[in-house]
């Protein structure tokens, strides 16, 4: 790994660092609101480096669900990373060894992936890990500050901060749904299913984490059958 490439990555990743800081602040505050300690919130962010996955993980922990549910939730919610890792592996080429791949894998988040891939064929593991490192610093420090603030601030502010993560999800989903009609349909399907699991007698016995998994799988499968993507789009 060339240090020059690594530093170029650190620099390029600064905007991601700032964005991650503000969002993970919300995660930290929410974790405290769910009864998790500052240290545990930091540990989650440092070991996972995901947004949606960590958030769903919080729900599983808070409801005291079975371990298998945690595995299922993470598998479904983070399944997109498998696709991104495949694409990243192709881009890095056959000359990059297993050691470097195992390090790069840890940092493969949506934004780090997007920034890395935007470098085209010049992408190196050094650059990728540089972007990932600065992004992770933002994510972990934001979590720490949010968790500390969350334990100091009054309940009303803490609750409002917890909504931040939902705000981020909405900011990601709405523009996509606006651009692509099949995505809009998948979103509507997922919402309808989510409401059924929340309010239908019988169905509302299913835990929140599992309900998210089932809603996601059903909505995404239906759209995959109805609107299969073109070859280039999926990559």
């Amino acid at each position: 790994m060339k240090s020059k490439e690594f530093f170029a990555g650190l620099k390029a990743g600064m905007p991601v660092c700032v964005g991650y800081f503000s969002v993970s602040f919300g995660f930290g505050a929410m974790a405290i609101a769910q009864g998790i300690t500052v240290w545990q919130a930091i540990l989650i962010s440092a070991s996972n480096l995901t947004s949606a996955g960590q958030f769903a993980g919080l729900t599983v922990i808070a409801t005291g669900a079975a371990i298998i549910e945690m595995i299922l939730t993470q598998l479904v919610i983070n399944s997109r990373y498998a696709l991104m890792s495949l694409a990243l592996g192709q881009r890095l080429g056959p000359n990059v060894g297993a050691g470097k791949r195992l390090i790069a894998a840890f940092f493969n988040t949506d934004e780090v992936f997007a920034l890395g891939m935007s470098r085209g064929k010049q992408l190196t593991t050094g650059f990728f890990v540089g972007v990932g490192t600065v992004a992770a610093l933002g994510w972990i420090s934001g979590t720490a500050m949010g968790a500390i603030a969350g334990s100091l601030l009054p309940e009303s502010v803490r609750m409002a901060l917890g909504v931040m993560l939902y705000g981020m999800f909405i900011a990601i989903v709405v523009p996509q749904a606006r651009e692509e009609k099949p995505i809009l349909i998948s979103v509507i399907l997922a919402l309808v299913l989510g409401c059924l699991f929340a309010w239908c007698p019988g169905l509302n016995q299913i835990s929140d984490g599992l309900a998210i998994v089932i809603s996601t799988v059903l909505a995404a499968s239906a759209c995959a059958v109805l609107f299969p993507v073109e070859e280039e789009v999926a990559q």
């Binding site: 990373y81 409002a160 998210i212």
Partner: protein, 100 residues
């Protein structure tokens, strides 16, 4: 102590999802259904996690609904991620403040 087991399982699962395809499979996915499925997972998943959970995230469901409405409106106006998230928070805080 069980929380550390949860965190460990969560971290290992997430890491394996990222690491296995990057190290083991050198060929791209050919199956069209699987490709399409993975294309639709992110948005569907975020939607399923946000609603109706946002309504029970606050003391009063009305503030959650207002936070949701503010976020959707701003996102439709193509505001940045941070603006949407912060405005949604502020809307929830103000609504809770008015209600009480």
């Amino acid at each position: 102590m069980k929380i550390y087991l949860y965190i460990l399982v969560m971290a290992v699962t997430t890491y394996l999802i990222r690491a296995l395809p990057l190290t083991l499979f050198k060929k791209p996915i050919q199956n069209r259904f699987l490709k399409s499925f993975l294309h639709y997972v992110p948005a569907a998943c975020l939607a399923a996690m946000t609603f109706p959970a946002i309504l029970s995230a606050t003391e009063n469901w009305i503030s959650g609904a207002i936070g949701l409405a503010v976020a959707v409106l701003l996102a439709l106006c193509k505001k940045s991620l941070i603006v949407v998230a912060v405005a949604s928070c502020a809307a929830v805080f103000l609504t809770e403040f008015i209600i009480h």
